[in-house]
Amino acid sequence: MTNLFNYIDRKSKVHDLTGATKFVCLLLWSFAAMYTYDTRFLLALTALSLILFPLSKIRVKDVSFMLGFTAVFMILNNVLVYLFSPQHGTEIYGTCTYLFGLTGKYAPTKEQLFYHLNYFLKYLASIPVVILFVSTTNPSEFAASLNKLGVKYSIAYSVALALRYIPDVQKEYDEISKAQQARGIEMSKKATLINRIKSAASILIPLILTSMDRVEIVSNAMELRGFGKNKKRTWYMGRPFKASDVCAMVFCVLLVVIAALLNIINKSRFYNPFV
């Protein structure tokens, strides 16, 4: 199985859900997490998302690369938020409690740190769900279920097709890049930025040209086997929607409802412990 999606084939309740269900749940879940800054809700959501890991039989080890990658991104994002608006917390919560006896624009405030905690929790609540989605969803089955949800099959199939050919293109990129390096194209950090951009062109042009050749062959191959003949098509990897799919989606709709209710109760998107 192609590993860009990092699909991990195991038997679990989460794997059993159709790809479309998981996709809808992912959207609802992240919407709920983004919708409110209510700390209690976010904590609960984070706890829930962590419970989902053992439920889908995905171990942290399996997804450590993606976790690491997002962790770096998350930290960077927090740092940038602090740099650009260190007083954002104060503006939101309406109070200003300096810490450690420091004052000034960049001095830490309780409000700012609390804001960052919430910001952090939003990530923690939503990222594991994204990772679970990619590692428990078979791309072909995903395409099939997207089509069932009403997405046109030509669009749904292009998802599967991209995944099919991405490893080929990666391999080709690697080969072209090595052969061009042999001709003296410098790709390492030794070269200046402009030279590196030029170098990239000398790899991308052959890559694009060979890929275009491939596109023609692939589209011929697909047409010769009847792709596009009918308004509908069936899917070898397709699975029927089951009761559990409905349950999962209802559950995620509830999450959004709760988030909305909390926003009404809190009279804003923020839960304010300072007033």
């Binding site: 099919r164 090595k178 061009q180 042999a182 052959p206 692939v218 010769l224 086997r225």
Partner: protein, 568 residues
């Protein structure tokens, strides 16, 4: 029995071209018939295939004249999809034809598009998978399959439709010789089992004739030149005239002065009758044929000792490889896909880092050098020229390696012009690369490597997908470079190439070298042939039939004769 397809005074002109591609085509095929179509590049065979499977006129627009009917209905009144119900096409590039993420999905593709529902969908896929013998790999991704397996998947994907006619577009192009032989056998079995009509488009005539074919059609310049039985065809001179390679045993028989006639059943090495008179002539020729003059060169240019390499740290892609290469050699590296041939050249060029062993170049440790530094000594030419070309103009493309090395413009001009002359590209020096043919582009990529003045060039499948004329052109060019003292290392599946042009061949299997010897010996050694997925040359069988004991020597003399007498 009625015709599946019938061309009557048929012609075709692409909208994008000013003159027609096909003229006066009269041809038909019945159920159960097997027809081979051959001819030089540009003879119109691809267009003919497109007409048969409906890509013409539905994907490639143009004007048809005369009549082309599928079961007595004009194809222009049908749709591409109606045609594809009857005519299945297995494309040359089985990698690109593989549109599913797994084997099962790829086979199911046509059924899915026909809205076939469960449980019929799964049933039909497993039926067809059994038919093409791929049932144990249903959940495999294309990257986990060998070339032969991918081709069987392509075949399965077409057979799910119960087609009446199967078209194979150059089925042997990407396969090693043994897998190619199996492919031809599989096609034969399927045609017998299912009774479909079969059309094979392929310029490797001898390999296709390994199994019975009813007719061979030779095309040239958009016309059908001949449409006859294999026995009649090889007895005539059409093949040589039209630039299609004659089977080797036929060439040998003709050199020996045997009059090849249809009643000798010469269509296949298995049927050809070698009587007393023929044996006598062959023996006589063998005894008088010149012996090859073996160049005896002294110095080793490359000395590779106990080289090992692994991609994943588990399975060894190269296992204890030791080779010595002399200056001025022309070396062929052969073996099945995944045997380590390409990996070997990648490690040698520094694209991958060796795990163990030593590489000495002119006595110096080569492994200390970077990719770029190694390229000054050993140039690497990729299989597909489009993978290397990144400049618009030929001059700039060839100059690229010098420019990146900071050579002055004046010297660049001088060296590029010199290289263009050597490579026969001088007339095109001011042309854009896009205006060149595939073979000329290949020359440009070779020139862009040669301009760096390496002492060795490595070529990955230098002639893949080329017709006999282009094949000869490229190989003669390489051989002329070789005469200038350049050491040439060729990675190839082509047994003819190896026999005709290499001084020595190295056979790889499972990351190890299993034979390193002169080509005539390698290609007459049963064990090596089997293990390295090669194919025995038909000359060997011919010797058996004629009672010549030393087949190796016969092959050796045959090569020498071709090199010294025929090609001049």
């Amino acid at each position: 029995m009625s015709n599946i397809l019938e061309f009557k005074d048929f012609g075709f002109k692409y909208d994008a071209q000013s003159s027609p591609t096909l003229f006066d085509i009269n041809f038909s095929i019945k159920k159960g018939e097997k027809v081979l179509i051959a001819g030089p590049s540009g003879c119109g065979k691809s267009t003919l295939v497109h007409c048969m499977n409906g890509l013409v006129p539905f994907s490639y627009r143009g004007k048809m004249t005369g009549s082309l009917s599928l079961f007595d209905k004009e194809t222009r009144d049908l749709s591409l999809f109606e045609i594809s119900k009857h005519v299945g096409t297995v494309l040359q590039d089985s990698d690109a034809q593989f549109v599913g993420l797994t084997v099962a999905e790829d086979i199911a593709f046509a059924l899915e598009n026909d809205c076939i529902k469960e449980p019929r969908l799964h049933e039909r896929v497993s039926e067809v998978a059994k038919l093409v013998n791929i049932q144990d790999f249903l959940d495999h991704a294309p990257s986990q399959l060998s070339g032969g397996q991918k081709q069987r998947v392509s075949l399965g994907g077409v057979l799910v439709d119960d087609v009446d006619l199967l078209i194979f577009d150059e089925p042997l192009a990407n396969l090693d010789p043994k897998t190619g032989k199996q492919a031809i056998e599989l096609i034969d079995e399927l045609s017998k089992k299912t009774g479909v009509g079969v059309i094979i488009v392929e310029h490797r005539l001898e390999d296709v004739l390994h199994r019975h074919v009813d007719r061979v059609v030779i095309m040239d310049k958009g016309r059908i030149v001949t449409d006859t039985t294999p026995d009649e065809l090889v007895s005539s001179d059409v093949l040589n005239e039209k630039g299609v390679r004659e089977p080797l045993y036929i060439a040998a028989m003709k050199y020996a002065g045997i009059k090849v006639t249809p009643d000798l059943l010469p269509g296949s090495i298995d049927t050809v009758k070698i009587g007393d008179e023929e044996s006598r002539l062959l023996k006589n020729w063998y005894e008088h044929a010149p012996k090859e003059t073996i160049k005896n060169n002294s110095d080793y240019l490359l000395d590779i000792r106990n080289l090992s390499f692994s991609y994943d740290g588990k399975r060894k892609a190269l296992d204890n490889i030791s080779i010595k290469v002399k200056a001025g050699e022309m070396l062929a590296i052969v073996g099945t896909n995944g045997a380590g041939k390409s990996t070997f050249s990648k490690v040698l060029c520094g694209f991958e880092k060796k795990d163990e062993g030593d590489i000495f170049y002119e006595g110096k440790d080569f492994s200390l050098l970077s990719i770029k530094e190694r390229a000054d000594e050993i140039g690497y030419v990729m299989q597909n020229p489009n993978q290397m070309i990144s400049k618009v103009m030929i001059f700039d493309e060839v100059a690229l390696g010098l420019r990146t090395r900071g050579v002055g413009e004046e010297e660049i001009k001088e060296r590029v012009e010199e290289t263009l002359k050597i490579c026969g590209l001088w007339p095109f020096r001011n042309w854009p690369v896009a205006a060149l043919s595939y073979g000329q582009k290949k020359r440009v990529t070779i020139a862009s490597i040669m301009v760096l003045k390496p002492k060795v060039i490595i070529l990955d499948e230098p002639t893949a997908g080329q017709d006999y004329r282009h094949y000869t052109e490229i190989m003669e060019f390489l051989s002329s470079l070789n005469k200038l003292g350049i050491t040439v290392i060729m990675i190839t599946h082509d047994m003819h190439l190896m026999l005709e042009y290499a001084n020595r061949s190295v056979a790889f299997s499972k990351g190890r070298i299993i034979k390193d010897d002169e080509c005539a010996k390698v290609l007459t050694d049963k064990e090596t042939i089997d293990e390295a997925s090669l194919k025995e040359t038909s000359l060997y069988e011919l010797c058996k039939k004629a009672g010549i004991e030393d087949a190796t020597d016969f092959v050796r003399r045959f090569i020498a004769y071709e090199r010294e007498v025929v090609r001049k």
